[in-house]
């Protein structure tokens, strides 16, 4: 008996020691770090702070001739270099950056895009068991190592991105939930792993991802290439699924925020309050995990985790109708500090359309400017660096305010946009129309269209037509995988060349299947969803693409790889479709079943009873004395009374 108790004590002791160790480890960076950094790494800090002003100077010098009369810029260079800089730490194994991009939109709405990036110099593929996590969330790390995930992209979106009003998003996502995963090529049974993975992710993100099964999973052959570094692109290791009906709410936001190193306690994540985020026209949150190069020669890989959150606030729904936005009005919070664990923490405001401050006015004014090529366009951003105490001013809080001066709002003409609808009437057949607009005045470009249609819409592929400008437009590549009833969906991928300044229409007819009566959803008259089709394209860029990706570039501009200098990659999602299937009147079977059961139970039961029962005359119970007498008589061997 002593031995187990002893071992239990030992266990407890071990746990205690370990927890102490953990506490020490976790406390180590916060107070000690500062001194550590300021003492030991002073040269590097100095070097970096030195480097930054020089760069700023260079950029502003180019800018001076054009617009900015910069007295303030000169002032800024004289700023004292703050002593306590948290940004530069000794080469750690992981690093965390956060940023917020705010883009005032033509329509008066405002687009805010958060990105949080954790890069971890580790490699799960090596087989070494990783057990110590610092900035990288352990829950995701374990999932990645257990299921041998090479890349994972998951997004939850509420609302639909209005390309015509808002332009292109930094990170597109379809309405509902989208999940696509590249597995390591060591995985033997991809389908089983995928099934398990979706169930685990469903738990992590509190979403209905467990409804992903073989009937809505496809293996796109060309549309979804790995975004990180990858050796092979064998699409057998890729799985793609969408749940267009998934509703996104706070229960998805909370687990998403918990993955951040600072949670929602400090840094930009303070702004993520659900009561404001969900009071918007568009909300999308995503997690992207991919392997990236550790350094220039790319000998080793790191794991990159990007958590992004995009939100568009509506001018009209905000009440007053004044064209004015501030951090407080958007998020009902202001910023007071950066996340202490972040190596960089910045706010970018897109001021490209506002070179002379005639469109809107920005306060507090900032003199840091940055330029980046985003979505084929060179954009200028005002930058607020949250790691600098100066940013917060004397009130110790930052509330960026944008006030419009003009009140015009036109429809945009984005280079590429797509829409989709169901044509026809009646419940037997229909036609899916997908329209792709190329608004480029003189360049044609190819797009990849991916359509995944559930099996209960039986596509007639022989009716597939692709027309642009009234002429037949033969796709140069078609990959079609027919559906199997109750097993897998249709997958249609094709490469179509879009002529300049044209609308290309892809139509395919379908027949609506009659489901079995248990296969209907509880609300069959609502209709059945068909997920968005995906249009992936290399769109001609308006500026030559900058290829040398250095660290100073904002994160949002460096996500998709670009192969050609003159074009950039975008992905456009169409709206999902709601299709009504022939639905029986469910009240009728219900009544019939109830009635039949009653009739059978009462009528047939009693009749059967009457017919099969044999009637006997039952003798009354003998009295106690008689029974005793009988017992005695039986013992005596005489017949009973």
């Amino acid at each position: 008996m002593a031995a187990p108790r002893c071992s239990r004590c030992a266990c407890l002791l071990l746990v205690f020691i370990y927890s102490l160790y953990v506490v020490v480890i976790s406390e180590e960076p916060t107070p000690g770090n500062e001194q550590h950094a300021s003492v030991v790494e002073n040269p590097q800090t100095a070097a970096e702070t030195e480097k930054q002003p020089t760069e700023e100077r260079r950029w502003e010098a180019t800018q001076v001739d054009e617009t900015v009369p910069d007295d303030a810029a000169a002032n800024k260079q004289d700023l004292p270099v703050p002593d306590s800089v948290l940004t530069s730490t000794p080469p750690l194994k992981d690093e965390f950056q956060e940023e917020l991009v705010i883009r005032p939109l033509h329509s008066g709405d405002i687009y805010a895009s958060f990105q949080f990036r954790t890069v971890w110099e580790t490699d799960f593929t090596r087989g070494s068991k990783v057990s110590h996590y610092r900035l990288f969330p352990k829950s995701l790390g374990q999932v990645i190592s257990k299921f041998s995930v090479r890349e994972l992209h998951i997004s939850f979106t509420q609302g639909y991105w209005r390309t015509m009003q808002w332009g292109q998003p930094y990170l597109p996502s379809p309405p509902g939930a989208e999940l696509w995963v590249w597995f390591q090529d060591t995985v033997t049974d991809v389908d089983a792993t995928w099934k398990e993975l979706t169930n685990v992710l469903s738990g992590i993100f509190c979403a209905s991802l467990n409804f992903i099964d073989s009937t809505n999973t496809v293996e796109p052959s060309a549309s979804f290439k790995p975004l990180g570094i990858a050796n092979g692109t064998d699409h057998r290791f890729l799985r793609y699924a969408t749940l267009p009906r998934e509703i996104v709410c706070t229960e998805n936001l909370t687990p998403w925020k918990k993955l951040l190193p600072c949670g929602s306690k400090a840094g930009l994540a303070v702004l993520l309050k659900s009561e404001k985020l969900f009071h918007s026209s568009f909300h999308s949150q995503a997690v992207h995990i991919r392997p990236v190069c550790q350094d220039e020669p790319c000998k080793a890989t790191s794991l990159e985790l990007r958590q992004t959150l995009n939100v568009v606030f509506d001018l009209h729904a905000s009440g007053q109708g004044k064209r004015e936005w501030s951090l407080f009005k958007m998020f009902s919070r202001t910023l007071t500090e950066a996340c202490p664990l972040a190596s960089s923490s910045k706010i970018y405001i897109d001021v490209t359309d506002n070179p002379e401050e005639d469109q809107f006015e920005l306060s507090p004014a900032t003199h840091l400017l940055s330029q980046a090529v985003v979505l084929g366009d060179r954009r200028t951003f005002s930058v607020y660096d949250l790691t600098q105490q100066v940013t917060f001013g004397t009130v110790r809080s930052l509330n960026v305010l944008i006030r419009w001066k003009s009140t015009e709002g036109d429809m945009l003409r984005p280079l590429l946009h797509a829409e989709r609808y169901v044509a026809g009437y009646g419940l037997q057949t229909g036609e899916i129309h997908t329209l792709m607009y190329n608004n480029h005045p003189f360049r044609s470009f190819p797009v990849l269209l991916l359509d995944s249609v559930p099996w209960y819409l039986r596509l007639y592929v022989h009716t597939l037509t692709v027309t642009s400008k009234g002429k037949d437009n033969k796709p140069s590549y078609i990959h079609y995988q027919p559906s199997k009833d109750r097993m897998r969906p249709h997958l249609l991928e094709m490469l179509v060349q879009l002529p300049p300044h044209s609308v290309t229409e892809v139509t395919v007819q379908f027949e609506r299947a009659l489901l079995k009566w248990t296969e209907y959803t509880p609300d069959p008259n609502h209709g059945f969803y068909v997920g968005s089709s995906v249009v992936s394209a290399l769109v001609p860029s308006t500026v030559a693409m900058n290829t040398n990706i250095t660290k100073e570039q904002p994160l949002f501009s460096t996500f998709f790889p670009t192969k050609e200098e003159s074009s950039y990659f975008i992905r456009v999602y169409t709206e999902p479709l709601l299709v009504n299937l022939p639905t029986p009147d469910f009240s009728m079977p219900y009544n019939v079943i109830c009635l039949t059961c009653t009739v059978v139970a009462v009528g047939y039961g009693s009749l059967y009873n009457l017919l099969t029962r044999s009637f006997q005359v039952e003798e009354p119970n003998p009295g106690l004395a008689k029974r005793i007498a009988n017992v005695i008589r039986r013992m005596r061997g005489v017949p009973p009374l």
Binding site: G159, P244, L315, A317, G319, G409, V422, Y425, G527, V579
Partner: protein
């Protein structure tokens, strides 16, 4: 209900309406586009053109060109999968200005709300039904009637419900709901219930068929009032034409109704803000729908807004009429099977087939000739195109009556006793199937036809007195049924007409029926011309059997 409680919004709405009191219609497309854009809607326009098969004299139009303007309020949280439609027809003249104004006011108010789960499409359609037809066909990318329209640029997914608005003045005494749509289709009864519930809640007088509800059900006058209301519905449904702009939505399985403001001489008036509140309430209810309206009846007749007669009650009435035909058929069958007393040669197939073919050819002529020969008719007779069409139709119809005699001259030999029995058996069964199918789709039409045709089918033989029977037969023919229906309808509407006016009305009803078929795809005209009239000719044929 925010629309009334917020004084600013109320003032804005009233301003808009006063500005609209100046005539704007004749579709100020640019102004509408600008106004809707300023309210933060996604605005699109659609142009369409249509040449009518012959001039429409009621609405004075022949070559129609127009533009629809619509703005889409995008639901903040929904991915463009579902939509609701609020439409107001805007025609030359200023008789629907208030509806357009109210539509814009509602758009402005709805835009600032966050609870919308379905896109809301605000549609101002020109040339009432033709514009609506163009918009709907374009939205669903179908073309059933050969209209030219430009494709739509913006859509909102599958439309769940639609309301059409007609207001002619800025104060109203009551609101009328119109349900009868194309081919006698009706929206789900829950839409009418919704309207009734909100009228009760807000305290607006509401009517159906323009008739107020009475509370004295048990009295004779109350009962007859309800019956008259229901008969009006039966007549309107039987006509198969859309009685408001909503009528065309029903083809696409979109529940729709027209709400019409009526300004009569009553003391108590309701202002337009109250109508706005009512619409807001209805839209918020529809917005909350998880499924399409499907829980209630699609087949019903309404003696008042709060009462309905379901299919289960009215179908037996039709069933009893149809049983007469089946019994008569059984009787004929028995007569045919039992060996005849006198040996007769069995009738040839030809003697049955010939009348069938000839009467159907006459029907086809009735369907095709009126629109084809209008030009020739106009050249040779001093009539307008519309008159030419109607008069050709009547001429073909009358000419059909002379055919039986000619048919028999073509046939060799005389018709036998067995012959007419076989023909009548075929005709009776044909009529039974025809009426049964019609009643399933459009009960009122089937019932009215059954009322007139079943007696004919029951009594007609070659042995009844010829002249009297011929008169009865003609009086009970489809054309006379239509004539009586016109007078009966006017009687019910409490607008009795003299015979002269009635005749003119009758002619215009025929031309409208033909137009409805060509413009919107109404099926009543082809049904009468291609099926019912030939069937009636068969009985005519039997009467004059030799």
């Amino acid at each position: 209900m925010g629309l009334l409680s917020d004084p600013n919004r109320r003032r804005a709405l009233i301003n808009l309406l006063t500005r609209l009191n100046a005539p704007i219609c004749g579709m100020p497309v640019d102004w509408l586009v600008k106004t809707m854009q300023a309210q933060g809607l996604e605005v699109f326009t659609q142009s369409f053109s249509r040449t009518l098969p012959f001039p429409d004299e009621n609405k004075e139009r022949y070559i129609v060109k127009g533009t629809n303007v619509y703005g889409i309020l995008r639901a903040p949280r929904a991915p463009r999968t579902e939509a609701l439609v609020l439409s107001a027809p805007c025609s030359p003249g200023d008789n629907n200005n208030q509806a357009v104004g109210l539509l814009l006011g509602l758009a402005h108010y709805f835009r600032s709300q966050v609870f919308w789960a379905k896109d809301i499409i605000f549609l101002v359609n020109e040339h009432d039904l033709i514009g609506m037809q163009a918009w709907l066909e374009s939205y669903h990318h179908t073309n059933t009637t050969g209209m030219d329209w430009s494709p739509l640029q913006g859509r909102g997914g599958s439309i769940q419900a639609a309301l059409s608005l007609e207001l002619s003045s800025d104060v109203i005494t009551s609101l009328d709901i119109i349900l009868e749509g194309l081919n006698g289709q009706l929206p789900n009864l829950d839409l009418a219930n919704l309207f009734y519930a909100f009228c009760q809640k807000i305290g607006v007088l509401c009517t159906i068929q323009g008739r107020l509800q009475r509370n004295d059900w048990d009295s004779v006058s109350g009962y007859s009032h309800a019956v008259q209301t229901m008969m009006l519905m039966v007549m309107k449904q039987a006509s198969g034409r859309p009685w408001g702009d909503h009528g065309l939505f029903l083809r696409y399985h979109i529940e729709a109704a027209t709400i019409k403001g009526i300004n009569s001489f009553r003391q108590y008036k309701t202002d337009i803000t109250t109508v706005g509140r009512l619409l807001e309430g209805m839209f918020r209810k529809l917005n909350n729908l998880l499924e399409r309206l499907h829980q209630s009846y699609f087949f019903y007749l309404m003696p008042s807004l709060s009462h309905f007669v379901s299919i289960g009650y009215y179908m037996p009435a039709f069933g009893l009429l149809a049983v007469i035909l089946l019994l008569r058929a059984l009787d004929l069958w028995v007569q045919l099977v039992s060996p005849p007393a006198v040996a007769q040669s069995s009738p040839g197939v030809l003697s049955v087939l010939t009348p069938l073919v000839i009467s159907h050819l006459t029907g086809a002529a009735l369907y095709i000739l009126p629109t084809r020969f209008q030009e020739i008719a106009v050249e040779h007779f001093p009539v307008s195109e519309t008159e030419a069409v109607v008069l050709t139709a009547i001429a073909v119809y009358t000419a059909g009556l002379a055919l039986p005699h000619n048919t028999h001259r073509l046939l060799s030999g005389e018709g036998t006793e067995q012959g007419w029995r076989v023909l009548k058996l075929v005709a009776v069964l044909y009529l039974a199937v025809l009426l049964g199918c019609t009643a399933l789709i459009n009960f009122s039409l089937g019932f009215i036809l059954a009322l007139t045709l079943v007696p004919v089918a029951a009594f007609v033989t070659p042995h009844v007195p010829k002249t009297l029977s011929a008169v009865v037969l003609v009086i009970l023919s489809p054309a006379f049924t239509l004539l009586f229906s016109v007078f009966f309808f006017q009687e019910l509407e409490e607008m009795p007409v003299s015979f002269q006016d009635g005749w003119l009305l009758y002619l215009s009803v025929i031309s409208q029926g033909i137009l409805d078929h060509y413009l919107y795809g109404s099926l009543v005209y082809p049904l009468i011309a291609l099926m019912v009239y030939p069937c009636w000719l068969l009985f005519w044929n039997i009467l004059f059997w030799k």
